[in-house]
Amino acid sequence: MKQYKHSVSLDLEKCKGCTNCLKRCPTEAIRIRDGHAVINSDVCIDCGECIRRCPYQAKKANFDRYEDIDAKKYRIALPAPSFYGQFVDLDDVDYVLQGLLDIGFDDVFEVARAAEIVTEYTRRYMSEQDISYPVINSACPAVVRLITLRFPYLCAHVIPMMPPIELAGKIAREEAIAKHPELKPEDIAIVFISPCPAKASYVKNGFLGEKSHVDYVVSMSDIYFKLIGVMKKNATPKATSQSGMIGMSWASTGGEASALFNDKYLAADGIENVIHVLDEIETGHFPMLQFVELNACPGGCVGGVATVENPYIARVRLQALRRYLPVSQNRLEKSDNEGYPEEILFPKDLEYRPVGKFDDDLTTAMQKMSEIEDLAASLPALDCGSCGAPTCRAFAEDVVLGGRSIDECIVYMRERIQKMVQYPGEE
């Protein structure tokens, strides 16, 4: 398996080896080793939860820097819809788009526009026969990766449709070439302004073997601080937004789902809730649902770790910004009334890639599990984390599968020492 490239990493200097991130990682990807956190890249889904939890800002999201993008290229900014919710007293998205041009971008393409097109195609997909209900959205890369690692049966439920960021990248490049025929595709730099490290990883790794249409992923907070310096209230912006209510509503939970005009949907956000919902869907618990929108971050993308504003405030702002917009400004042609272009579909099926299997041989796997069970039963069940594992059970797995020493459990050690003092010479 090719190594998955991550966008969440650790600043060794700042990490104190506390157990805050350890406890909150939804995939138990973190261990504390030699006094600091270590991330197991096979299971990390770049959800950013550890960044949110670290009191020392030792966990960081890695993005491209705006300054590092070759200024000779034709740079197109792709703001995610959540970006618009970051600004105080903004009453028109055009000021943001103009600001992006003013800091040096040559052009802007709103991801919200692509989101409206994806919404139309999704409605079409939902009206087809032979689809597995409930259909799960494909827009949050942390959720999609989680499903491929842990929910074999749900891989076929993920809508096989590229997320808006891809379609936006593709159309942006095509439009730029149409406007400036002298440009070659490689002269163009498509720059996504991202709320989260998950999108950065998505772009770095490509998806299902295909390279992304996006070339760079910069952090939303980074661009935000550049922009507030140049955004002027008095000058009338020349740029005009072309997205409607639907596109903007993708920024927060329920926006994507409600735009489908199908009320048999569920929208859940926050990675713990997402896992809970996936477990329930897998056990067949929601037979009535047709669409499930899942976002790893609290509140949806407005809650991404690279945003600056509180997600609930951002959501309210977006509602205000949307109020006088047309429902959608990006509709498919009337004549184009069935199917979808090849390029919007996944290039191949989403594959289940299990991690954490104990052994390829079932007998051996069963023996190991039996050892782990016995060991876990003898541990104090405190889940205190001082052994560097998030739970006693995970520690038992580390001992049996990863060769850790049982002496690293301090509670176990203390009991052993007490026994040695009480009954010297017995051990």
């Binding site: 842990r150 074999p152 049966y153 477990d279 329930e280 897998e282 056990t283 067949g284 618990h285 929601f286 037979p287 289940y352 299990p354 954490g356 299997k357 104990f358 052994d359 390829d360 041989d361 079932l362 007998t363 796997a365 069963m366 023996q367 599990m369 039996s370 069970e373």
Partner: protein, 146 residues
């Protein structure tokens, strides 16, 4: 020959919010053992339904899971009211779940029929006023194949 793995769970009848937790735990273990997706799904759906039934209809109980290479057996035992008419209870859509439980999305009367559908063997032993024991078996279709 590997020894049978055995897992025991107490299913709390007073804590509705934790209903279903044991089947999620079993699902995770089967995944770690490397069983294929279809087997895991069948086991976890059937066990989930049995677990929910014990919480909804029998004030809780216990679940014992036995994992062998070729077969997974689950015994769900409770000390609830028992089932007066098994063939009626097995009918699709038949349910005695109270309204407050239905409001939560349970009580569609598909639990027992689904347990039968997703397993290879199912046996219900029940004594009115004493309790019910449901035993289900799923034969694995080749572990570790993915």
């Amino acid at each position: 020959m590997a020894e049978t793995l055995r897992f025991h769970y107490e299913v709390d009848g007073n804590n509705f919010t934790s209903a279903g937790a044991a089947s999620v735990e079993v699902k995770r273990k089967l995944r770690q053992l490397g069983f294929d997706a279809e087997t895991i799904r069948r086991v976890s759906i059937a066990m989930y339904e049995g677990e929910i039934n014990m919480v909804v209809h029998a004030r809780g109980g216990s679940a014992d899971v036995y994992v062998d290479k070729d077969c997974i057996t689950i015994i769900l035992a409770d000390r609830g009211p028992g089932i007066p008419d098994i063939s009626l209870a097995m009918q699709e859509g038949y349910s005695t779940a109270p309204d407050n439980i239905r409001a939560l999305g349970f009580g569609a009367g598909m639990g027992l029929p689904n347990m039968k559908r997703y397993t290879d063997e199912m046996k219900i032993e029940t004594v009115l006023g004493k309790g019910t024991t449901v035993t289900i078996k799923v034969y694995t279709n080749g572990a570790n194949k993915l």
